[in-house]
């Protein structure tokens, strides 16, 4: 297990690389979903008026 996380000594490069990818892509996804839900709610509210 420890060997896996150590990545042959390159851990401090490999994991941040995967980390950046996760943060950016999940962040984009979250931003897109939140924006979508917000727009949906606003439109529903406006249509009900």
């Amino acid at each position: 297990m420890a060997q896996f996380f150590a990545m042959g000594g390159y851990a401090r490069f490999v994991w941040p690389a995967y980390g950046v990818a996760v943060i950016v892509l999940v962040g984009l996804l979250a931003h897109s979903v939140i924006g979508y839900r917000r727009a949906q709610r606003a439109l529903d509210a406006e249509e009900r008026r």
Binding site: G8, G9, Y10, V14, A17, S32, A42, L43, E46
Partner: protein, 236 residues
Amino acid sequence: MQRFANPARFMRLSAALLPWCSVAAAVLIAIGLFGALFVAPPDYQQGEAVKIMYVHVPSAWLASLVYAVMAVASAVALIWRHPLAHIAAESAAPIGAGFTFVCLASGSLWGEPMWGTWWVWDARLTSVLVLFFLYLGFIALANAFDDRTRGSRAAAILAIVGVVNLPIIKFSVDWWNTLHQKASVFRMGGPTIAGSMLWPLLVMAAGFLFLFAVLLMLRMRTALLRAKLRALRFGT
């Protein structure tokens, strides 16, 4: 309301496609990550550092692909005045910028242990950095005008002008002796990379592609909902 006739078709299509694309993206990325981290062998020269490739290369491919989509959408928008085309281009831009950033960051993290430097001004890296600035410029330009349509059209022109960068990104490693390695997948004569490394790479790339589709559809749907909201509020 017949202005929304086409958008309505898109809304129906995307509503049907989104669940499938989301599942495809999740499954492919999961398999790809598993393959990359647990199955694929370490490299003869690079050891475990090669694992960065499974994030760096797919994001690089998507960075260019999304720009191509953005440029085509921009051309369609300017030539045929299709309102959905501007929305497609502007929805794609932040996604492309994201992939390009991941490509640059992961590349830098890969370069330090392998080349001994976080950055080098060779043709491949420089042209990808230019790509990143083109994305940022596109987004800034689209939002820089009080008249939104003018912003969209100006940004569309920029997108088309920037297309010259794509062949430079692709062929720069062939035209110049760069530090960045030459193509080992998309080349005449087929891939030179080992099969055990190729399949997780392709699976990750496919996963990223479906992720792009999901993000694009979500953002386009959001833009269309907002347009409808504006029409209701201000009675256009």
